[in-house]
């Protein structure tokens, strides 16, 4: 009993540790990566004894110190309690969502089988959406408590955008649910280890040499859902190109204009934590999660019928490393997207969410349903 609780506590600590550190590192990747994209040098002024470390010292040491030592300003006519509560409400859902994302298969220590997922909930995907819908509160309360018209405008825009794209996000995932038949994220990750040729019905057997050797990853089975989900996830995190709620040139930083110091750092870290969470979800639902292609629990089983057996710990390490690399890739992709694409206008954002992505998601569900029924 105590050992069980200790194992869960260690897993939770590891996941939180990784997410928060990754959120910090992403700040550095953003500044240096944007500098590379824009053909400039980026932040390199802060240094310790002349060691500037490619901007690492600046972003990871100087910036947090600056944020934490700034004056904590609460607008005099604003709501003091809510002003302090809003950054916590913005940061909490982004971190808590990671509790259901599996970062590995199972770790077998002696006779104890440890599932490498902090909480094994049988309604995993719904839990993710529930926490996503709680993310709206940080924006709304932060905007309201600032007693500032620009802030309120940014907050209202932001929350309307978030609830619109929640709908599209949920509907786009239904196709994935229909294909894998379960709401549990660990089961979805496991089911993506099967090769497509074992899922093909008899009628489509001619496709076997063409795509049968691919593992049944979500992106091969549901490409449209992947695009819709990725776009909605970027819109949920309110990053460019869906950046108008905190538009730096229009709304003077929108809903977090009255925040400084540690509270702004929490909003900032919350945004990067949401980037990591979105990357983790896309990885788990569409790119096999911790799956390495052809790697089963005892080793590699290649489709040309050769195997390469590996010890259990190697397999586990490979899977965790694969998950981490995939999450890095999608975080980097979101940062690249930010610095390459111009910002949408607000009515364009709303039109995209309701008039284009919602019908496309419904179409995806209908087509998936037809294919699944016809294949039986």
């Amino acid at each position: 009993m105590i050992v069980d609780i200790a194992i869960i506590a260690v897993k939770a600590f590891l996941v939180l540790f990784m997410v928060l550190n990754l959120a910090g590192v992403l700040g550095w990747v953003e500044r240096k990566g944007s500098a590379l994209i824009q053909d400039r040098i980026g932040a390199n002024r802060a240094s310790i004894f002349g060691f500037a470390g490619m901007g690492l010292v600046n972003t990871l040491v100087a910036d947090p110190l600056k944020f934490l030592t700034k004056e904590d300003f609460i607008p005099p006519a604003g709501d003091k309690l809510l002003h302090t509560l809003a950054p916590c409400m913005a940061l909490f859902p982004a971190l808590v969502t990671f509790a259901v994302i599996p970062f590995g298969d199972v770790l077998i220590l002696g006779d104890r089988v440890i599932n490498l997922q902090v909480a094994n909930i049988n309604v995993g995907i719904l839990y993710v959406f529930a926490m996503g819908s709680l993310g709206v509160y940080g924006i709304v309360i932060g905007a309201w408590a600032s007693n500032n018209k620009f802030s309120l405008l940014g907050g209202v825009r932001g929350s309307a955008q978030m609830i619109s794209y929640e709908v599209a996000m949920g509907l786009s995932v239904i196709g994935v649910l229909m294909v894998y038949g379960t709401l549990d994220l660990q089961e979805i990750a496991r089911d993506q280890g099967v090769l497509i040729r074992e899922m093909l019905p008899a009628g489509l057997a001619f496709l076997r040499p063409v795509i049968g050797w691919l593992p049944a990853w979500g992106v091969f089975l549901q490409p449209l859902a992947f695009l819709l989900f990725f776009t909605s996830a970027v819109a949920e995190t309110k990053r460019i190109p869906f950046d108008l709620p905190e538009g730096e040139s229009e709304l003077v930083a929108g809903y977090h204009v009255e925040y400084s110091g540690g509270k702004f750092l929490m909003f900032f870290a919350g945004e990067f934590a949401e980037v990591v969470t979105a990357a983790g979800l896309v990885t788990t639902l569409f790119f096999g999660g911790w799956q390495v292609p052809y790697l089963m629990r005892d080793g590699f089983h290649f489709p040309w019928s050769s195997t390469w057996l590996l010890p259990h710990l190697t397999v586990v390490v490979l899977q965790v490393v694969a998950f981490t690399l995939k999450v890095f890739f999608f975080c980097w992709l979101q940062i690249l997207l930010r610095w390459s694409v111009p910002r949408f206008r607000y009515d364009q954002v709303m039109r995209l969410g309701w008039k284009m992505m919602l019908p496309l998601a419904l179409l995806n569900v209908a087509v998936t349903a037809v294919i699944i029924v016809a294949a039986q």
Binding site: L126, A130, Y137, I141, W144
Partner: protein, 170 residues
């Protein structure tokens, strides 16, 4: 006094405290936040009662969408004047509600469960079983509920629409 009972008492006391905050706080936004907290605690209680699907749906629908709507309306209407509490009415209402509570609580305390709860399978409350019930036995209420939601959407849009200045000719 095992762990489940301790957790229940903690959750129950937090739930009662946040319900009292909903009713007795002065600023409406604080009441709304207290209600969100009460809904989240309810969802945790649901999950502990082997209803994980309904609990997560409660967070997603109630705490995540309906309360956001409440907050929008509060922010737009911005009722700045604080209401004047009238002591006589507050006293009478508290007395009447204490009376209601005093009637209900003994009524429920004397409920004899009979025997232990029916041993439920591990799938009780899971999405599969809920879906089978919903689309099997209760498919008619389900369809009626969808019509109800459509009516609610249309009604809300019509009610809340701003009246444009009508032109002279009808």
């Amino acid at each position: 006094m095992n762990a489940a009972t301790v957790i229940f008492f903690i959750l129950a006391s937090l739930l009662v405290i946040s319900s009292l905050m909903v009713v007795f706080l002065r600023r409406v936004v604080h009441c709304a936040i207290a209600l969100v907290t009460a809904l989240l605690l309810m969802a945790i209680l649901f999950v502990s009662l082997q209803a994980p699907m309904v609990g997560v749906l409660q967070v997603m629908v109630y705490a995540g969408a309906i309360m956001v709507l409440f907050l929008f309306v509060i922010m737009f209407l911005n009722p700045s004047a604080l209401e004047q509490p009238s002591a006589a009415w507050w006293g009478l209402a508290v007395v009447l509600s204490a009376l209601l509570g005093a009637c209900l609580v003994p009524l429920f305390s004397h409920y004899e469960p009979g025997d232990n709860p029916v041993t439920s399978t591990e799938l009780f409350g899971s999405p599969e079983v809920l879906a089978k019930s919903l689309f099997g036995e209760f498919v008619l209420p389900f369809e009626i509920a969808s019509v109800l939601l459509l009516v609610a959407i249309v009604g809300a849009v019509v009610l809340a629409k701003r009246e444009h200045a009508s032109d002279g000719a009808a």
